[in-house]
Assembly symmetry: D2
Homo-oligomer: 372 residues x 4
Amino acid sequence: MKDIIQVGVIGYGYWGPNLVRNFMGVAGAKVIAVSDLNPESLPKVQSRYPSVQVTTRTQDLLENPQIDAIVIATPVSTHFDLAWAALQAGKHVFVEKPFTATAEQAIQLIKEAARRNLVLMVDHTFIYTGAVRKIRELVTQNDLGEIYYYDSVRINLGLFQPDVNVIWDLAVHDLAIMDYVLSPLQPIAVSATGMKHISGGLEDIAYLTLFFNNNLIAHLHVNWLAPVKIRYTLLGGSKRMLVYNDLEPSETVKVYDKGITVTANSEQMYRMRIDYRAGDMWSPQVDRTEALQTEALHFIYCIQNNESPITDGKAGLRVVRILEAATQSLFSQGNPIELTSIREPEMGLDSPKYAYKKPQVVSEVAASPKIR
Amino acid sequence: MKDIIQVGVIGYGYWGPNLVRNFMGVAGAKVIAVSDLNPESLPKVQSRYPSVQVTTRTQDLLENPQIDAIVIATPVSTHFDLAWAALQAGKHVFVEKPFTATAEQAIQLIKEAARRNLVLMVDHTFIYTGAVRKIRELVTQNDLGEIYYYDSVRINLGLFQPDVNVIWDLAVHDLAIMDYVLSPLQPIAVSATGMKHISGGLEDIAYLTLFFNNNLIAHLHVNWLAPVKIRYTLLGGSKRMLVYNDLEPSETVKVYDKGITVTANSEQMYRMRIDYRAGDMWSPQVDRTEALQTEALHFIYCIQNNESPITDGKAGLRVVRILEAATQSLFSQGNPIELTSIREPEMGLDSPKYAYKKPQVVSEVAASPKIR
Amino acid sequence: MKDIIQVGVIGYGYWGPNLVRNFMGVAGAKVIAVSDLNPESLPKVQSRYPSVQVTTRTQDLLENPQIDAIVIATPVSTHFDLAWAALQAGKHVFVEKPFTATAEQAIQLIKEAARRNLVLMVDHTFIYTGAVRKIRELVTQNDLGEIYYYDSVRINLGLFQPDVNVIWDLAVHDLAIMDYVLSPLQPIAVSATGMKHISGGLEDIAYLTLFFNNNLIAHLHVNWLAPVKIRYTLLGGSKRMLVYNDLEPSETVKVYDKGITVTANSEQMYRMRIDYRAGDMWSPQVDRTEALQTEALHFIYCIQNNESPITDGKAGLRVVRILEAATQSLFSQGNPIELTSIREPEMGLDSPKYAYKKPQVVSEVAASPKIR
Amino acid sequence: MKDIIQVGVIGYGYWGPNLVRNFMGVAGAKVIAVSDLNPESLPKVQSRYPSVQVTTRTQDLLENPQIDAIVIATPVSTHFDLAWAALQAGKHVFVEKPFTATAEQAIQLIKEAARRNLVLMVDHTFIYTGAVRKIRELVTQNDLGEIYYYDSVRINLGLFQPDVNVIWDLAVHDLAIMDYVLSPLQPIAVSATGMKHISGGLEDIAYLTLFFNNNLIAHLHVNWLAPVKIRYTLLGGSKRMLVYNDLEPSETVKVYDKGITVTANSEQMYRMRIDYRAGDMWSPQVDRTEALQTEALHFIYCIQNNESPITDGKAGLRVVRILEAATQSLFSQGNPIELTSIREPEMGLDSPKYAYKKPQVVSEVAASPKIR
């Protein structure tokens, strides 16, 4: 097992600096080179990290035998080519979200990484927050009961992306969270609607409904044109309900002992009786460690121990195929698109291996980078 | 012009007491009889209003020549028969929302009322709040610019209705508000999704997307199974954006001087440049008069002056046809349903007569029951 | 034991209608007469409660042998004379807060009621809310540990009272809550500051600090001139801390597992080490019954069972003597005034008899009007 | 005029890194040396700023002829000695808040800086936020009318300071803001109360009331032991009222068109009539530039142009003398302490020169480091 994993980072734009800072900061990793096509980005790296090699040539990183792992923080359209080249060069790969521009690309990368026994990880950052891990724990322990719905809103006056619509930019976060929290449940169809408001632009507002095999329903609302910043997720279950508000610094997760109970109505046999239950609310303390730090540690751990990450290529694929189908549904004003057709057993999409494991409690997590 | 309009109220269940209290309290009206099929409801009327005649026979009200107007506060399935009988008896009619169970019923009532020159009004209560009237005023004055989207959320742990789904129970409010605020713009198609969670019950959670002729999009989210009570509407425009929060007692309407400006990018001719604008926020004081009081006054005014109410049968029809189409779309998991097919020029659905009139300012409204 | 306690209400202004409604609505009581000096108030009583006798002569109630108990809802300056006359007439007495205009008056009434074995109760309404009873329960069970501070804010754009300053109008609520929640702890001195802003008016903003025998401190902030309505109480303890927000409809009481732990610092023996603890938050469901209903039931119960109410004359006295001392401190810009001098052992001020009883749980309370 | 002011920073603990970062980042300044008594702090400086000289000897900075200005970020007990030595060495001085440990020390530094014609500035950071500058602008323009009260709350579960009580740690911020916003009005007496809860510790909770010559009153509430983080300031005026919430990211300042109007009562000549006014609310957009950046620019500007800073030594002295008097009042449980006795005409405490100047609008401010 290598003590220090040496990392090369491709792309030093919006997210790259955060990745460099965290891979520099965690034990077991060290960034030794950064590339960016824009030469103006490089002096910032040099002044902050004098020891790091900088270059405008991606090839310099791929050819550097000192580099064990490549971190890709470039536009999604370039992910496949860069990740493919990195795998060819024998590097472990960490890719910014969304994983790839198509599900087909995702499948190829997954197969190639498996063939070469390299770690392939997708940067679904929110999965590594204490809040989302706590929610996963509550769902796994059956604290909410059977899940009825998953409902999220992620809106603000956001940066319009020139190359992807608001689904690929914002809903990707919620799809990644939902994939992790509801696992092993997976949607079987998606209906999406949305609208463009800028001439020449892409959809800036969108709504996704996801259908499952049972009566679970999920809905996502994303918007770049909202006057206020709102981010919350409601998770309704047969036993309890939960509100996750990412913008609430101290009570991020709230669990409500609320719900309904349906009983046969003794007086009117043919009608059910519904009782409403409103009990205590409980807001568990969640781990506040920076998600990217936990995530970087997890990537390093998986390389050192030859394990598959929680947000591996298959998790990335599961999200990308929904993004693809949702965009398709968008064009037909909500016509539902089935998701089942692209399932492949060998992709393991139906049974993520971590699905039935009880997650470790948060306090243990803090001591170990293995967070499943 | 009759000085006092004598009113009979059918139905004294959940909403009836509010209607009786308001028609008793406003100048120009007087409730003289109340009927309810359930004899146990009637003593409550008598102890509160000793002068009012009570009966379990609806017919007693219809046959009473003293009664000028009938107020219907019964389940929606009975609306058509009761309203039809009241019109036949020559009474003006005020009907609880939703107007009717089908668009076809609505059309028949509209025609019959017109033929008999009787006032037919639908109880779209929120239209008569100071907040919604203020929003209509801002839209009409072009303070928001071109409207980009209308987005509302109305959720709580709500009473499950045995006879109608959550769309007919809750979304009806938002459709009525939207119809008024965006007038004369009207949706041309609807895509709806939703889910039932109670065996034998109806949909308790639903999402509606409404499409218009231009790039305006509307979305409604309703839910009877939410752990928290949330009600807000976002209205995004090219000039300003607005948040309407019905649960916020003092800052119900907030107008944000926020948005984006798109300009040609001089350096890269083929790409637009988007500038983000964040200015002041302004929360106008709104009239706090109880909406039902304003509404009762408006009904009386329309009877006395032979005018058509703002929320007339056509407004009721415009809402009901969306409820019908949405329920149809729900069955096909979001397949969009066109609304244009049921438009009829003689129904005047395309050009509501009040559309281009500038509304009176609120302070004038207070002095006059004519609020258009 | 009399089955039905017949009640006469003096004063039908702001609060009187609520008292009449509740004493009419609870089992075991019946309002049979209402008096008000203003003849214009009486028709409202008659139209609402045709069976109740109305009069402008207070004497009519005192002389009525049918009346068992007198409820006084008049300005504080009249409380002593009315309560004294009612006791002389052999009636049980329920007095609006503040109990009396001076501590001396309070002592006389307490002695007279005791001598005649009549129930004397002060309307400290908040004590009978589910939220305050829950807080008392948590304190009694030592869930918060040793109490460090009690800090309340009660401000809004409020009605200026012509006859009493803001302390007598608003702080009286918080002093009554504090007296109940912290019992048997009682303050030994008060420092108060405040200001008048209206020519000819009384103090419209005030701050009170209360000192106790140990390192507990209490502070109250009241203001009639605030742009926003704020009401919250913070209760800090050695084990947990609590926030009580009366305006928050669903999470009125929040208990935080937060605090500090002080340990000897092994490295630097002469310095303590402070550890900060931030755990879960818990918001218990509280009984939502209207406080005045619980309170009316408790008054009736005490009459029927010859018991002393929770908010008896002594509770009223403990609050009034602080109001007196605070007003005195106000004149000297915060000079602390001792409260000990007016303690009298025979008043039982030091050891309220309910102090060490564990309160019944809320669900039991609902079944019984005896809420201690 | 020197183009680049070379800066030496003493102290690289909690606040020092922010000062170094900002003095490095603004035009016209450059940090060339940093000293800290703790040698473990220095490698952090070196790795971040390889060009900066580091040392554990303060003397190295004072003796360095290249250094024009000394920035002091050490515990308050050391401020006087360090600032005095820096002035003796002919350096301009920027001192962390609180300015000094006693008013007497502050006076000596002010006189010495004046004698040597050196700039002496106190780091009252909040003065340089867009929000506080906007509030000052509104007060100066008389938008609020006559100021009735200034009321602030600054509480959280905060770091216990071993050397100063909560007044010196937290209230210092509010006193600095108040001094700037209300200028030229200054308090004439202070009454303070508070309590210690840690054996061997200092006061962790405190309340200050400040009296002025007219009917203005100010109150500050600070607490290190609160379960929730609350920071707000209410500013009540005869025309409008204002709420400043530092933790609210988008609507930091809200101006309420609310208040009361007192008129002679025509019917009852001897009584006033009070009318309540509730109009619109307005939340102005405020400049979001980091305060410390604006402040660093202002210090450099003052050195280059030989001007006196807004938060000069006299502003620091005005705050320190209140801290001293408040601590004295604390010992006597609220006994008011007069502030007038330490006024000295030559200190210019009564008439700050910037008092009557209309502040520049925010947009102009952005273009110029001179923000008065």
